[in-house]
Symmetry: C2
């Protein structure tokens, strides 16, 4: 077991659960004798390139514990992609690794971050630098391959389904008819929209995986509308037509704008205009904005606990000498729900994308199947108990004081 | 103590807490010997005009208990205003009251509903019909006079402050600067926007009570932006300029549209365009949509308990023979927070509107004072424990089976 220091960092879009993974990794790393110092990198790989590291020993333990139930990326994130043309980024990273005697690197993130894990692992092998590099998955999009599902997704799914359930109660209040369109995140994969099937309040779901057609859409909506007088429609931001064009970028849908101006708003606005023009004037468009990725106040306990577990397991796998892997979640059983971790070769993960399989979408292309719902159901179970202060969630506050550079200490 | 039957009904926009008040009133009424039957009216006063009553004895007690933690208006709501030109609506109402021997009428609602309470009480006196008519306040807008605050407001306030806190964590993730504009409800009174001051994450607040000026707004935003690089702006949908024009209806702000087209979206979109054009391109506009009035999943325990209390007290006041009143909340002490109910003459309530007093707004017109925050603070305390089913809130399901009309039973 190699002795030395460790870096834990976060990358990509924030989620409700990414700090839970950091929390699991930090406490396990602090606990491991072979690991001397546990550093955080400020803003992911950028913090390594810029030599902006902070020491978790300097943080208040109580604040670190709060990380488990703190949304967003407390260590700071980035969207930086390592330079591919020359090796200068890699040289710099390993210069810093060497300077701080970094022997363990745990990177929590999505697709791009797993690519970074792969590249750093490969470069270490190339230059014979002894280090364990392990990826920890997170993404609300649930689109990473090699893992049954992604930490962060379950909480987003729970928030979306709960919000839709509540909005349907709101829509039921008056006698008058109403059509509600809820736009959720998901550029290429429709998992978040699919999660709305967890509440019966959702009538129709449109996914990027199924080509969108306005005529069929109109038929679908009219059918529910005539039956119930209320329609709850959920749509992924990334739905496309049969030619692969994003619906959100289509102009003049509904025939409103005769001057050829681009219409404002995303796909929800496009569908809202279409419904208003062709079906019913009383239509409400709701954008479930960034709250869907940071609403810890109604996070899924299953998700948050699993996120903690993958973070912790990453360190334990590192201690076993593993490198070049992502920690995957493996569903052992669905009823009762049992899930454990396993190692996944990073080459099987980086740069791939997991979409909803076509047999999990109904033949009308406007809902998901029972099988899909069974897959989703356990991921939202349980509520997270968040410490509060004055009636609001009390989230972790880290100092993140950058440590003095070793050469300046010399 | 007069014996007879009772009607409980809901009106106006739904809130998180209006069913809690119904719950309190229903159980207290079911408990009272002089009350024989406890009816609900479907969709408020419309249900009385249409003779659509349902019997709470026919409902499952467990479902009725769930009403306490169920958002929106389970009995159904309406926005109907009683006809003022002739007395036909009143004649019809008292025809139904008489037919069903209604001697107690509890109406849960906002401003307009309190006007209905007043009118029905006056008409009963005029025709010498023996009935107790009592209003139960609710509105997320917190704009009813005669009560320290309104049931429904505290939960909306908690949801808004929590969401802003969480979104500020999200905005802090990257190094890049960002300006966030959050639009909240509040057409004439800014209480909901003011509630965002409950989290330190909020930098600037614009209220309908303070005339909005674009130049000052730009100065305010620039100042925070230069200091912090991130700005969290909260704005009431109903802010107006010094001439009383709604900012949301101003066209061509930001100089975008040279063809004189009305721009889409509300005030958040107008400010977003202005910021993008004049201050910073990275600006995000969030509309805290209808969830702010129905997000029971993070409701305020204080609010929900008080809502239950005012519903229950309405019945108890009715049993004391009171009529023509609204149940008000009276703050006995702030630290510790103690609140009780009192009767408020309905004439002091109906058709008035309580705005934020000007001395609770700072002199720059871009935040509220410490006094205002002290007033708001206790209203969001405590979390509501919601029963769940499969990871989602389990909300009440009522049958609302319309009872057979007495004359058809004869």
């Amino acid at each position: 077991m190699i002795s030395g220091n460790c870096i834990i960092a976060q990358s990509g879009g924030p989620t409700t659960a990414i700090n839970s993974s950091a929390c699991g990794a930090i406490f396990e790393a602090l606990n491991q004798k072979p690991i001397e110092k546990v550093f955080g990198a400020r803003n992911g790989i950028e913090g390594i390139l810029n030599e902006e590291l902070f020491d978790f020993d300097e943080e208040d333990v109580e604040e670190l514990k709060l990380l488990k139930t703190t949304p967003s990326s407390a260590l700071g994130s980035c969207r930086y992609r390592l330079k591919q043309d020359d090796s200068s980024d890699y040289e710099r990273i390993f210069e810093v690794f060497n300077k701080y005697n970094i022997r363990y690197f745990f990177y929590i993130g999505g697709n791009d971050s797993m690519d970074t894990v792969k590249k750093i692992h490969e470069y270490a092998q190339k230059i014979n630098y002894d280090i364990r590099v392990i990826g920890v998955p997170k993404t609300i999009d649930n689109d990473l391959v090699g893992t049954d599902h992604c930490p962060g997704f379950g909480s987003a799914a729970k928030y979306i389904a709960t919000s839709i359930l509540e909005m349907s109660h709101d829509a039921d209040v008056y006698k008058s008819n109403i059509i509600t369109i809820v736009e959720v995140m998901g550029r290429n994969a429709g998992w978040l929209a699919a999660a709305s099937a967890l509440t019966k309040a959702t009538d129709l779901i449109y996914l990027p995986e199924a080509a969108f057609d306005f005529e069929r859409f109109e038929q679908d909506v009219r059918k529910v509308y005539e039956e119930k007088g209320k329609v709850m429609i959920v749509v992924s931001e990334g739905i496309k037509d049969k030619d692969g064009r994003y619906i959100s970028t289509l102009e003049s849908v509904g025939g409103h704008d005769n001057f050829g101006h681009a219409q404002l708003g995303g796909v929800g606005s496009v569908l809202e205009r279409y419904v208003k023009e062709n079906i019913e004037k009383r239509v409400k468009k709701i954008e479930l904005n960034i709250l869907q990725r940071c609403a810890m106040h109604y996070g899924s306990k299953t998700d948050i606990d699993e996120a903690y577990m993958v973070g912790q397991q990453a360190v334990l796998y590192g201690m076993q000498g593993k490198s070049g892997y992502m920690v995957g979640l493996k569903r052992v059983s669905n009823t009762p729900y049992v899930c454990e971790t396993e190692l996944v070769d990073i080459n099987q993960v980086a740069n791939f994308e997991k979409k909803i399989p076509s047999h999990w979408i109904n033949k009308e292309g406007n809902y998901v199947t029972k099988e899909c719902i069974e897959y989703l159901s356990p991921l939202i179970l349980g509520e997270v108990l968040i410490p509060t202060e004055n009636g609001l969630p009390r989230y972790a506050k880290l100092k993140k004081k950058i440590v003095a550079k070793p050469d300046s200490m010399a």
